[in-house]
Amino acid sequence: MATMRYQQALRLAMTEEMERDPNVFLCGEEVGQYQGTYRVSEGMLQKFGPQRIVDTPISEIGIAGMATGAAMVGLRPIAEFMTWSFALEAMDQLVNHAAKITYMSGGRIHCPVVFRGPAGVGTQLSAQHSQSLESWYAHTPGFKVVMPATPADAKGLLKTAIRDNNPIIFMEHAGLYGTQGEVPDDPEFMVPFGQAAIRREGGDITLISYSRGVQLCLKAAETLAKDKIECEVIDLRTLVPLDMETVLASVRKTHHAVVAQEEWRNVSFGSELSARIHEQAFDDLDAPVGRVGGADVPMPYAKNLERAAIPTDNDIIAAVKRALA
């Protein structure tokens, strides 16, 4: 165990996997000489050289094609998007190529590629840079969608992603890069996909989230505990595959649930989760599942407006009280 930042944990995962497997390489904008826009790949160019740490032009279609094509012939690329918003440029390569080639080829071509980078809101980057769109990727068959909430998961899930034989959408949260945590240094430490983590136990209501939303839930749970409301907080870790067992087991115990995400609320992952809980635990629910999400507006720049657009622990507390009313 070592204490490190989320960002360092990601670097450690990539470094260990690149040492283990010569077919793994990293490409993206400013990942090399510049040492990474958010310093995630700091020092890796010096360690692995320019063939394996590849600086690219500002060409997201090219980056996605480079990673997809290399994966199709046996390499295991990691492609970094400077932020996930720029993946919009590459959507055809991601959705109509990476996600479908295995199926279209009848399973004869594999596509072991990790698309990763920062997403998340909160530093006044305004509309074009403040969207993660995990709901889009979760909607698209062929992808696995991973969103770590802690430094340990950042490492363990990224290693699992790199060893997986499928295209992985690995979304980091820029707002979590600086967070500290205990991270196992065992190079075989992996966090399996599709296994949610119960971050806090409680019997009154189930709070379900992922990425930075988990922190909001834990903060809300603490506050609510003072009013003797015990929340069970579930960190999904991966949206696809989705661990409904853990969710349902908890809801059957608490009879109440709130799903929380920072992303836009309309037609989102939270909608799916809410629908599934209602479908699969209808008779166990004492109240409809609450939903907390970002305001359905392009992200405004002004600090006060941005703050109003992003969900807080208070929004979760309010949803919990509505559910328990």
């Binding site: 390489f25 063939q51 590849v54 690219t56 032009p57 060409s59 997201e60 279609i61 090219g62 996605a64 094609g65 480079m66 990673a67 997809t68 094509g69 290399a70 994966a71 199709m72 012939v73 046996g74 390499l75 690329p77 055809d92 390569q93 109509n96 190529h97 080639i101 295995t102 199926y103 279209m104 080829s105 009848g106 399973g107 004869r108 071509i109 594999h110 596509c111 072991p112 068959p141 062929g142 696995k144 034989n165 499928n166």
Partner: protein, 336 residues
């Protein structure tokens, strides 16, 4: 590629044998394409269906010179000829076109997504320009592995207007990757002529603008294509740098089955224009050359044609006799 069974003279005449092989291959492509519309109208084939009639030399003049497996081939939805040249069995192709379990993609891909990775054929692609960014990745991987293999990537004149093609060209030029680009300039993108779709029609210049050298080639003549491809491949293996060949050619039939149905082609070209290009038919041209050189007699040509037609009919029979994919395969292959 498929081998001819025409008897050879005692003295092993390589060149003759090679040309016979290529003649046979082009004829097989043509006969197979001629059969697919029939099968579509019999409702044995569905979806989109794009034929290669008239463009055979672009494939027969290039792919047989590759090291397969080892090298890789990428192309568009107009991919039947490419699969044949890579050595995919006509049976597996026809079965794929008919959506059968015995198809080269288990019936999941169809006409636009023929594939045969073990033979180096990475498949067709239904997205205009789509294969080009992928070729960047394949080329990068080949350089990474350093075994001297190359990637050949086919795409159409219309695809030159896709942004992804330019991003990939620039990166291939920047990283100096072993990719041979074959621009299938058949004069039209569906109903849009090259003149109506580009601000500057010299495609070689567009490649050069990204640091990829290239030249224009008469794609209606097999020997010309073969010679240009031979030089290009040697150059790429030697320098490791990409090369671009713009092949002038023509598609005889409509863009796809839909084009013929709607008679849309009448809006963008005349029957006379089509007839003129047919006079330059690459298969006839090779046949004439070979007859002139005494490599081929009328009887032998007949024999090859009969053989090839039989091979196509056999493929059809095989496909029609093949089972549909099992229903529970619907959820298979979504993930590896």
């Amino acid at each position: 590629m498929a081998k001819t069974t025409v008897e050879r003279p005692a003295e092993d005449d390589i060149q003759r044998g090679e040309l016979l092989d290529l003649y046979r291959l082009m004829l097989l492509m043509r006969r197979l394409e001629e059969s697919v519309y029939r099968k579509f109208h019999e409702a044995k084939i569905g979806g989109y269906l794009h034929r290669y009639d008239g463009q055979e030399a672009l494939v027969a003049g290039v792919i047989p010179q590759l090291r397969l497996p080892g090298d890789y081939v990428l192309c568009t939805y107009r991919d039947h000829a490419h699969a044949l040249a890579c050595g995919t069995e006509p049976k597996a192709i026809m079965a794929e076109l008919m959506g059968r379990a015995t198809g080269c993609a288990l019936g999941k891909g169809g006409s636009m997504h023929l594939t045969d990775p073990e033979r180096g054929f990475l498949g067709g692609d239904g997205i205009v320009g789509g294969p080009v960014p992928v070729s960047l990745g394949v080329g990068y991987a080949l350089k990474y592995k350093g075994e001297g293999n190359i990637c050949v990537c086919y795409f159409g004149d219309g695809a030159m207007n896709q942004g992804g093609v330019h991003e990939a060209f620039n990166m291939v030029g920047l990283y100096k990757l072993p990719v041979l680009y074959i621009l299938e300039n058949n004069q039209f993108a569906m109903g849009t002529s090259v003149e109506r779709s580009t601000g500057q029609p010299d495609f070689v210049l567009k490649a050069q603008a990204h640091g990829i050298a290239g030249e224009r080639v008469d794609g209606m003549d097999l020997l010309t294509v073969r010679e240009a491809a031979n030089r290009a491949i040697a150059r790429i293996r030697e320098t490791g740098e990409a090369y671009f060949l713009e092949m002038t050619c023509y598609r005889y039939v409509g863009h796809g089955i839909g084009d013929d149905n709607t008679g849309g082609h009448k809006t963008y070209r005349t029957e006379e224009e089509v007839a003129e290009w047919r006079l330059r038919d690459p298969i006839h041209r090779l046949r004439d050359t070979m007859e002139a050189r005494g490599f081929l007699t009328a009887e032998q040509a007949e024999a090859i044609d009969r053989e090839v037609v039989a091979e196509v009919e056999e493929a059809i029979a095989f496909a029609e006799a093949s089972p549909e994919p099992p229903l529970d395969s619907l959820y298979e292959n979504v993930y590896s």
